[in-house]
């Protein structure tokens, strides 16, 4: 009898975390017994509540700010860090001490992700922590919540899935896996969030999903959370007569989410109040944002309502005398939210990308174009050939300018408003109709806030006990930059070639691949390589050398580096090595250098997560 009774899913979201599980001992086939762990957290000083969602916020209080006895939790805590609801609330009044969106910093290529840089731009006196440490802290909080509810089945002994955005690059995945190992998770696997959403849908249908999709379907997963938008395409294929799911494409990392929408409405009302001579301070704007979110949800849920009053409470105790009243109208929601974030654009439109002003300080690379539909058009346009190599798929009609999805699955809190789901489907179907393709169907998802955690738990369960799996492997092909052996020309950077190290779709646990080319590494000195990824070059094989490529096909990622220890070789000696790549069972990419002629040895090649600015 194994000790692993539970399959656990951790949704480590940009704005919220959630924790779900499947009781593997009591689940049989498609009859799955699952549950959700309410996460104890401070909701006010001295008050602990267990809630299904844990806001991904850390507050670093001043030593005199709270009484130590007011910060207790059901487990041992450090008094210098507050996590969850209280942290978020406290951050609205004292933002200089709040760490939020740590996950977006974890995949920020320009910063050292293990350096104490958060809260960004904080004054010297305020303690800072690294994006990595913040991630460890959230995970530790979830672990403690789990261990409190299941003291005899600690998390370290269960099958655990941690979700990551599909758009996370190998370095950010590795950091996430490292954080999970740091809190003692032994049986870990990473899963892309849109896949988790689809697993949740499969699980909720208890087998009926096979009636809802057929071979040749391409499911578009649109996941708009609090802070990020994540897109994926999953094809329905067939293997030995049984339906299979294959993830064929993922989108870019887009920092655009529900929080942007609420903030936009709040600024609209702030301007409206400003015209009547009413000025709002930061606290009031926060309260207004909160009010807008509630008003927006009512307006989107009930089409009979034309306007909803929004009242900004006074901050002082004079509530009636000091409150400010305004209104949010249907027209404003329509023009700002729907036309602003979900405009009915053409399938050929692309997100506007205005050049950034000279950066004075490093911030998060927020999406510059707020239109989700334009990002969607760009994604589908880029992935026109995503299903070309799949058996059972009709070749895209000649002249198709974008990949034609046949079904759509929504995820994320934003789409709790069904009107927004309908809008995206409407825009997509206009694009499809323009190319004489049949309209896409809407797959009915449930629990849009918690689906990722539930799907992750389901995945951890089916991995061990069998069941439907989404195949896919690596979502990109990866390349290392090689300087070409051309004579140097003054003033010109040496031409760089890209050597394919990892083909598209390399599956976890498959045989390692190695390019035949040899590299000379100097022993004892750190050696760095430029590293590239492509989400569209599906046909490149290992060892293929690209002389040139269209600019938008390859993205430069964190560089990779290795140091050969001077143990078996003389320092300064040049050793010829081959670069080998594996996708681990965990789901991270592992690169190693193997000396030619001594295949037993190998040295790890690490992703440099210390930022480009350090050069």
């Amino acid at each position: 009898m194994s000790e692993k009774h539970y399959a656990v899913g951790l949704d480590l979201g940009t704005t919220h975390c959630a924790l779900a599980f499947v009781d593997s001992d009591k689940s049989e086939g498609e009859d799955i017994l699952q549950g959700l762990v309410a996460i104890p957290q401070l909701t006010a000083p001295g008050s602990v509540e267990a809630r299904p969602l844990l806001p991904s916020c850390l507050y670093l209080p001043h030593p005199d700010e709270f009484k130590a006895t007011d910060l207790g939790l059901p487990w041992e805590t450090e008094p210098d860090r507050i996590c969850g609801e209280l942290a978020r609330n406290q951050g609205t009044t004292t933002p200089i001490r709040l760490v939020s969106s740590a996950k977006s910093w974890l995949c920020h290529p320009d910063v050292d992700r293990k350096a104490a840089i958060l809260p960004a731009g904080a004054a010297d006196e305020i303690p800072q922590i690294s994006p990595f440490d913040a991630t460890v802290h959230y995970l530790a909080h979830l672990r403690n919540a789990w261990n409190g509810q299941f003291p005899y089945d600690p998390l370290s002994r269960q099958e655990v899935t941690v979700t990551v955005p599909a758009s996370f690059d190998p370095a950010a995945r590795e950091l996430t896996a490292e954080a999970a190992r740091a809190i003692g998770i032994a049986h870990l696997v990473l899963l892309e969030e849109p896949q988790a959403a689809l697993y949740s849908w499969v699980n909720a249908s208890s087998g009926d999903w096979r009636q809802q999709v057929r071979v040749g379907d391409v499911i578009l997963v649109v996941d708009v959370g609090g802070g990020t938008t994540d897109l994926s395409l999953i094809a329905v294929t067939e293997q030995n007569g049984a339906l299979e799911l294959t993830r064929v494409a993922v989108g870019e990392h887009i920092l655009l989410g529900g929080d942007n929408m609420d903030l936009t409405l709040a600024h609209l009302l702030k301007q409206k109040l400003g015209r009547t001579g009413v000025e709002l301070d930061r606290w009031q704007l926060q309260a207004l944002t909160h009010g807008c979110r509630i008003a927006k949800e009512s307006l989107l849920a009930d089409t009979d309502l034309d306007r909803i009053p929004v009242v900004v409470p006074s901050r002082g105790s004079r509530l009636i005398g000091g409150s400010i009243r305004t209104e949010l109208t249907r027209e404003e929601v329509q023009s700002t939210l729907i036309e602003g974030f979900f405009p009915a654009v053409d399938s050929s439109s692309r997100p506007a990308n205005r050049p950034r002003g000279a950066l004075t300080k490093v911030g998060l690379p927020y999406a510059q174009d707020p239109a989700v539909t334009r990002h969607l058009a760009a994604f589908l346009g880029r992935q026109t050939g995503a299903t070309e190599d799949l058996a059972g798929f009709v070749a895209p009609a000649a002249g198709a300018s974008f990949l034609h999805p046949t079904a759509v699955l929504f995820n994320g809190g934003v789409f709790k408003a069904e009107q927004l789901q309908a809008r995206v489907v409407e825009v997509l179907n206009q694009w499809l109709a323009a190319e004489d393709a049949p309209p896409a169907r809407l797959l009915k998802a449930q629990d849009l806030d918690l689906a990722v955690a539930r799907g992750a738990a389901f995945y951890a369960h089916v991995r061990r006990h069998g069941g439907v799996r989404i195949r896919g492997g690596t979502s990109h092909s990866y390349y290392v930059g090689v300087e070409s052996a051309a004579p140097a020309i003054p003033g010109m950077e040496p031409e760089i070639q890209a050597l394919c190290l990892v083909p598209f779709g390399l599956e976890e646990g498959s045989e390692p691949v190695a390019a035949p080319q040899e590299f000379g590494l100097v022993v004892g000195e750190p050696v760095r390589f430029r590293f590239f990824g492509s989400s569209v070059r599906r046909e490149d094989q290992v060892g293929e050398l690209l002389e040139e490529w269209p600019e938008d096909e390859l993205d430069e990622l964190d560089e990779i580096q290795t140091t050969l220890p001077a143990k078996d070789h003389k320092k300064g000696e040049v050793v010829a090595v081959r670069l080998q790549a594996t996708v681990t069972e965990v789901g991270t990419l592992e690169l190693t250098a193997i000396p030619v002629g001594a295949p037993g040895q190998h040295w790890n090649i690490a992703f440099n997560t210390r930022g480009r600015s350090g050069e």
Binding site: P40, T43, A44, P45, G46, S47, V48, E49, K67, T69, D70, L71, G72, T93, I294, P309, V311, P313, R315, S317, R318, L319, I320, G321, S323, R325
Partner: protein
């Protein structure tokens, strides 16, 4: 309790003899069974004379906790403590929205409250003999014996579930809202 109530040993004796007789005598068994059924339907005999009921003092902690929540989310204390005489109905109404929205959120989050009677108000309802007098209150022409038939004036409210936050040891619940000082 009247002094006529049998002692424990007496009751044990009655139980044993009844057990034997019930096995032997079907008529006796039927009589005992009828007695048990009748008891379920009939409430306790009305108290014969005046009696003192021990009064329990309500624990202040949950009350303070709930009040703190209603203030935090719905600004209830600010609203109730303010002198509303000088304000227009529109101003009071605007503030009432904050109180309504916030306090409703607290109720939804921590208390599951359901009507005592599910029938629509105004409909005719029957109070069966032995009705729970703390949950249903007959008013007006209260004479005779139940069943009472009357119109439902108010549906009543009942707490089905209550889940208040837990409090850390040493937390001072008397502070319903901390004074805020912006630095």
């Amino acid at each position: 309790m009247g002094s006529a109530a049998p002692s424990f040993f007496r009751r044990a004796f009655i139980a044993f003899t009844s057990f034997r007789r019930a096995l032997k005598d079907p008529g006796f068994a039927q009589a005992v069974s009828a007695l048990a059924k009748a008891e379920a339907g009939r409430p306790q005999a009305r108290p014969a004379g005046p009696a003192t009921v021990p009064l329990a003092a309500a624990q202040p902690d949950s009350a303070l906790l709930l009040l703190g929540l209603l203030q935090k989310e719905g600004r209830l204390l600010d609203f109730l403590k303010e002198d509303i005489k000088t304000y227009s109905d529109q101003e009071v109404g605007a503030a009432a929205r904050i109180v309504h929205q916030g306090c409703q959120q607290v109720l939804n989050a921590h208390l599951k409250i359901a009507p005592v009677r599910d029938e629509p108000e105004g409909s005719r309802v029957t109070l069966e003999p032995g009705f729970d007098a703390s949950a249903m209150r007959p008013t007006g022409n209260v004479v005779g014996d139940p069943p009472f038939v009357g119109a439902l004036v108010h549906r009543g409210w009942r707490v089905v579930e209550m889940d208040l936050p837990r409090v850390t040891g040493g937390h001072d619940l008397r502070i319903l809202a901390a004074a805020e000082v912006e630095l």
